[in-house]
Symmetry: C3
Subunit: 363 residues, 3 copies
């Protein structure tokens, strides 16, 4: 039996709390800075898992050779993998006690991320508003992911409804930030030091370039993908996202749905991979204007998706890439040939800008 | 609300079809060249997933040190992972509308693939034969995978039965290529610049070298492996194989089997991993002479395998490696101690050449 | 039809056994050296899979930048991933015919492992004791994993009950090694050439350092994680662990439990990942004093864990790290708020030393 040195009785009876239980609504203050834990080096292992989990086929992210031909040092990491890693870091501090993830806004992707880069995340509380029932309130945070050189890789706002620890706690004032409904395309620069003029549509698998899309056009992405428990849990752990509802069937079986909830970001990535078929040259996600997880998804659900082109814009100062504003709607267990916009089958409604190579003047 | 610039009314009503629906039988022409999309950089992440999916234990592919001791720059990627990546590229153009994958022939592995290599695939249509019911026809393609230096990593023929878009479409002529039933072992050179004379059987886990196998010998590989839905879907997405029948339970539940079909290549890799126990020094697959997916497999099936030595041949000009022609038969839910060759439990019948180190003269 | 050269009739009828069936109790001798097969290069792909399988968030293993800031060349591989790879190598020779894995002792981690390192394993038989029923006996082995430079990465003793091939086989003598119940903390040096004095608790996600833990303290790790079949099989194949009970549902359905058993090491890794919440700065596992897989686990089980601090010790000659002796108990389908020590729900009882940064004198 080991010795018991250094163990005063009081400590034995009342140890300091070692387990983190996350912040509750009354713990937040507007202007508060949150340094999130676990800087994360992204590797080709993460990229392979991402491919296995969703099956994306975008040529730029699939091939170092394609990426180098356009001026990258290697294939950049899928933008949404970066999103999930940055998002995952914020969960222990922001949304461990969340009732609901309410929305995203003003989400901009920064410098590309390459295998070997290490991502760290900080957030600032930019808004707080208690609910009238005083059980919970909305927390608005701006979160910024940076690489090991301090360059921003992602910057976005999300708001979540967070429970109060103590309903009686006094919370004074309310600040609701003014958020743009769309990221101004004039502010989208596209990646620097690269040039997509020689984009190879045979390698990319789609002949349709920026010039070929019309505002108002709708695309049914046709394919469906069924989700298994092992898949969404592998994904969510890969992102080091600790939200309990995704992992603990013992607890969930007594809950509202009786089942583990799938991380909403898993559906975003699945919808984006399905959208390859129709948007195959939309190689980069430049910004997310907004998004809602309209209904929950569960293992066994088959996800379908369709997209509408909401807008298109050239990029200032460059003729190799243009921006398409896309609305992608994903459903569960309902094919999307009739372009459903609402209803119980709709699980995701995402509004984002993709960058797509333009048809060259000479071609 | 975004502006609607550049969106003529006609486009809104009849957008050009953006979603690829694959080629139908009448779209193919003998001599046609198909440049397949998505050049794919293979990484150590892919290798780790391959190990996790099948559990192969071949020392050459497991250890950079073993590989370097024999003259490789690093552990080469498993030949079948290369096969799946090359095969996956061909699906959107060749077999998206396939009724059945009918066979493989004259499949030869070329230069080794290492993590960091980027594989591209092209195919040539070498045969076409409409079925008498005019609903479909057989398409024969020779597909060639190349690395970023243009060196061939895999070259093979497969033929698939592909639906017609329009049964009434006229298709003239029929070309059925003359295909070898076996790859001539005199044409198998083995990898260049490497030397297996100092092969370490303690490291490899099997004392049996090329010299120890007799033509006619049969080996029951004993072990069984049960397949889960998440596993075969992770694998098939990793290979960027888009065949719908593997992923979409919503659609499949109304289909012939009521379930998702497992990609046949998943069974090939599983059988090869099981065959390690008995063929542990068969470190390289040099060629596939032919193969049939005799019956479909589904999640929940437990796969077993046995092998017969059909032939053996030295390699011209080298005494470090010899070739064994192996027939591996895999079953589902039936152990293979009685060496079944046919029946409903048989799911794979594969005929291939492996290369195995030879017993040194001095030993 | 291929020629049948070199195939004498006798070989056809009685081929030499090519399939390995593992050692039985009477095959072992005290002092016997076992060179295990399959040297294994560990890559960032393995690390990504490990993260996806368990969701660990230890900053040192998650971030190359954190590791470099403390003197490492890169993020070291999780100690338990090293354990599983070393353990996996021993299975074909030591425990393929095991009835039960009885215990571990004197398990010490050596030099850190980095992606690119190749691990080889050897074992020495250090004890043998036949059971009184003569059907089986206990085999004690000391197994040592080394990197490509011959440096020890792990050294441990385990004992397993192994079936006899022939109950009538004579086995003389019995040797039971004298094993320590705890690794002497005075022998724990901690990793060389690194310095944890500037450890960043914001990055690590836990404010609690070595100084803050008291002997006798108990920590409920709160969270639960449900296990799927695909997950534990992916893990166990990744470790190239060939124990049949984990993979073959066809065989297991006729067995004692009717189901595939989960590799005990999978539970160790899961418990360690859960224990991050409360032991987040316990960045290195220095030694495992002992461990028991108290009850089997199966897919669908939800694993919970709690820990007790059994002892604490400074490390000789350094003030940046201290050792905590931790007992972690994992349960299935039972939250651990009441710190259960025994019962049917307890699946793991593990006793180990972790290293944790100390509070600096100046702080």
């Amino acid at each position: 039996m080991p010795s018991r040195r250094g163990a005063p009785e009081m400590t034995l009876q009342m140890p300091p709390q070692k387990t983190a239980s996350g912040n509750f609504f009354e713990d937040f203050r507007v202007g508060q800075e949150l340094v999130h834990a676990t800087p994360r080096t992204i590797t080709t292992g993460d990229v392979a898992l991402y491919t296995a989990l969703y099956g994306p086929r975008f040529a730029l992210q699939s091939s170092d050779e394609v990426a180098r031909a356009h001026g990258y040092s290697a294939a950049p990491v899928d933008d949404l993998l970066v999103f999930h890693v940055v998002f995952g870091k914020t969960v222990p501090d922001v949304s461990l006690n969340a009732v609901a993830n309410l929305g995203y806004a003003d989400c901009r992707f920064g410098v590309p991320v390459f295998p070997g880069d290490t991502i760290s995340t900080r957030s600032t509380v930019i808004g707080l508003k208690e609910n009238s029932n005083r059980q919970s309130g909305n927390v608005y945070v701006r979160s910024t992911g940076r690489n090991q050189r301090g360059a921003v890789v992602l910057d976005y706002v999300r708001w979540v409804m967070v429970r109060k620890r103590d309903a009686g706690a006094e919370v004074t004032g309310a600040v609701v930030p003014d958020l743009p409904t769309v990221v101004d395309p004039a502010s989208l620069a596209g990646p620097r030091g690269v040039d997509f003029r020689a984009w190879d549509v045979a390698a990319s698998g789609s002949p349709h370039l920026w010039d070929d899309y019309a505002v108002g056009e709708r695309i049914d992405h046709v394919d469906g993908m069924t989700i298994e428990e092992a898949e969404h849990m592998l994904a969510t752990r890969l992102y080091q996202n600790t939200a309990r509802v995704h992992f603990n069937q013992y607890e969930q079986k007594a809950g509202r749905f009786g089942r583990r909830l799938i991380y909403g970001g898993h559906i975003i990535s699945l919808a984006r991979a399905l959208a390859f078929n129709g948007l195959g040259n939309g190689v980069l996600v430049a910004a997310i204007n907004g998004g809602r997880h309209v209904n929950p998804t569960f293992a066994g659900d088959t996800v379908f998706a369709w997209s509408a082109v909401l807008d298109k814009a050239p990029l200032a100062g460059r003729d190799d890439l243009g921006a398409l504003r896309i609305r992608t709607i994903a459903t569960k267990d309902q094919p999307t040939g009739d372009y459903p916009e609402a209803g119980e089958a709709v699980v995701l409604d995402l509004d984002y800008w993709v960058l797509m190579p333009r048809r060259g003047m000479a071609a």
